[in-house]
């Protein structure tokens, strides 16, 4: 069973979205289920700071010893911060997908909608 924290929101493409102290900024990453399916992650390509991303469109990729997988933007907005630690330690996504393995923070024009609850996401990965 993968870990699905109840206080986060999710996409069917296995990204998670967390609120930040700023209501118009979210933090995102990939889920425990996704990292488990990928295996040892060895490379992450993230969007650049200042880049616009569009909900449900590819915004990066994550590569493991086994395969390459695309990262989909969970929301539309502008990338304001990326997790620089992943450049040299992509394995943080495996060890702490919801914590130190976060990917980027995105500034959004309004509070995001249309995301899945933990229960809904849990039903997809069950």
């Amino acid at each position: 069973m993968s870990n699905i924290p109840s206080d986060l929101q999710y996409t069917k493409e296995h990204e998670w979205v967390a609120p930040t102290s700023d209501a118009l900024r979210i933090r995102m990453g990939i889920t425990d289920y996704a990292q488990g399916a990928l295996g040892d992650i060895v490379y992450v390509q993230m969007p650049k700071v200042g880049e616009s991303v569009v909900a449900d469109k590819v915004c990066g990729e994550v590569e493991s010893t086994k395969s390459v997988s695309e990262i989909f933007a969970p929301v539309s907005g502008t990338v304001v911060t990326i997790n620089e630690a992943l450049t040299n330690a992509p394995e943080l996504i495996n060890s702490d997908p919801y914590g130190a393995g976060w990917l980027v923070e995105i500034e959004v024009p309004s509070e995001p909608s249309g995301l899945l609850s933990a229960a809904e996401y849990g039903a997809i990965t069950a």
């Binding site: 295996g39 040892d40 060895v42 490379y43 590569e63 493991s64 010893t65 086994k66 390459v68």
Partner: protein
């Protein structure tokens, strides 16, 4: 689990993963179940001459109780399979071809076999377990077996009451052994090896680590570096060809390729950035024109960088800079010497 030549194979085992399994083999010891590999027996007076007229390598180069890496080519020089031939005597050989190619190897042998020699497909009569890594020698010793054997030698031993052929062979670049018990004894031998590895912190390993380990050594994988379309001359596998033999399947074509020397040949690439090359990606020269294609590519767990084997135009050499088209991004790489990491097989 993944389908591999019709066999359901683990890419990695739960609780470890490719990187941990790879590191176990490089630093300690790992155990692979490679029972999907084919097994074929060729017996009868004249077996050596029969196989020597078919396979590329020269079985006169080895003595009894030694194994040899060899190739089976088509008359046009394409590679049907690469395999290991174990010489019991000049009239008794045991072959271990690749899983997916076993029926083709058996078919070619049977089509050409003279009377008095028998070719028997023993695919599901024997299993193959690979114990690899610097501590493999101590694991074998702990089972009460003398582990001192020449590289590519084999002997008959007993493990947990089961008869096993113990071979000093492998596909990882580490000191190691491949063990051939009967199919029905294999679970008992596997369990005994898993238990014997425990004091040495060994891991059971899947196909993922097998691939990263062999790629770091530059060992070819049939379907990637060798195929019906890629000859052994291109794959830089000329060392597995007995050029002095009178003839063998494909010898005319291979000899002329060798003399012409103009075909794309296998080179090793090491990424200079964080790009990870994968099979099928185009390789370009500094001026942007295409000079070849990646045949195998992966993240090297030992070097922490992307590595690849690639067929490149012959004018490119070690030290040259190239670019690899990694899904639309340009990744730069340097042509490197093989192996990527030092070999410890001997």
């Amino acid at each position: 689990m993944a389908d591999f030549g019709g066999w359901l194979m683990p890419i990695e085992y739960p609780g470890a993963g490719v990187l941990a399994e790879h590191t176990a083999v490089r630093e300690r010891v790992g155990l692979f179940d490679v029972s999907h590999l084919g097994k074929v027996s060729v017996t009868g007076d004249g077996a050596l001459e029969f196989l020597n007229a078919i396979f590329t390598n020269d079985l006169n180069r080895i003595v009894d109780s030694k194994a040899q890496y060899t190739l089976l080519c088509n008359p046009d020089g394409g590679v049907v399979d690469d395999l290991i031939a174990y010489r019991n005597s000049d009239s008794d050989f045991f072959l271990i071809p690749n899983a997916a190619n076993t029926t083709d190897v058996v078919r070619v042998l049977i089509e050409n076999v003279p009377s008095g020699i028998s070719v028997t497909n023993l695919h599901e009569s024997f299993a193959v377990l690979a114990l690899q890594g610097p501590q493999a020698v101590e694991v074998i010793r702990s089972l009460g077996i003398n582990p001192t054997m020449d590289y590519m030698a084999f002997a008959h031993v007993s493990i947990a009451g089961c008869d096993v052929i113990l071979c000093r062979t492998g596909y990882t670049g580490e000191h190691g052994y491949e063990l051939v018990p009967t199919w029905s004894d294999a679970p008992v031998v596997w369990d005994a090896l898993v238990e014997a590895m425990k004091p040495f912190d060994g891991l059971i390993c899947g196909l993922g680590a097998r691939d990263t380990l062999r790629t770091e050594m530059g060992y070819p994988l049939h379907g990637h570096e060798l195929s019906l379309e890629i000859s052994p001359v291109q794959a830089s596998a000329g060392w597995a060809i007995g050029w002095k033999k009178e003839s063998f399947r494909g010898s005319d074509v291979l000899q002329s390729q060798r003399e012409a020397g103009t075909v794309r040949t296998l080179k090793a690439l090491k990424s200079n950035d964080r790009g990870i090359p994968r099979a099928g990606m185009a390789v370009k020269a500094a001026d942007g024109h295409e000079i070849g294609v990646v045949t195998s590519g992966t993240f090297s767990p030992s070097l922490k960088v992307g590595i690849a084997l690639a067929l490149l135009d012959p004018e490119y050499a070690v030290g040259d800079l190239v670019t690899i088209d990694v899904r639309g991004r340009e990744s730069t790489a340097t042509i490197s010497a093989l192996p990527f990491v030092p070999s410890h097989v001997r």
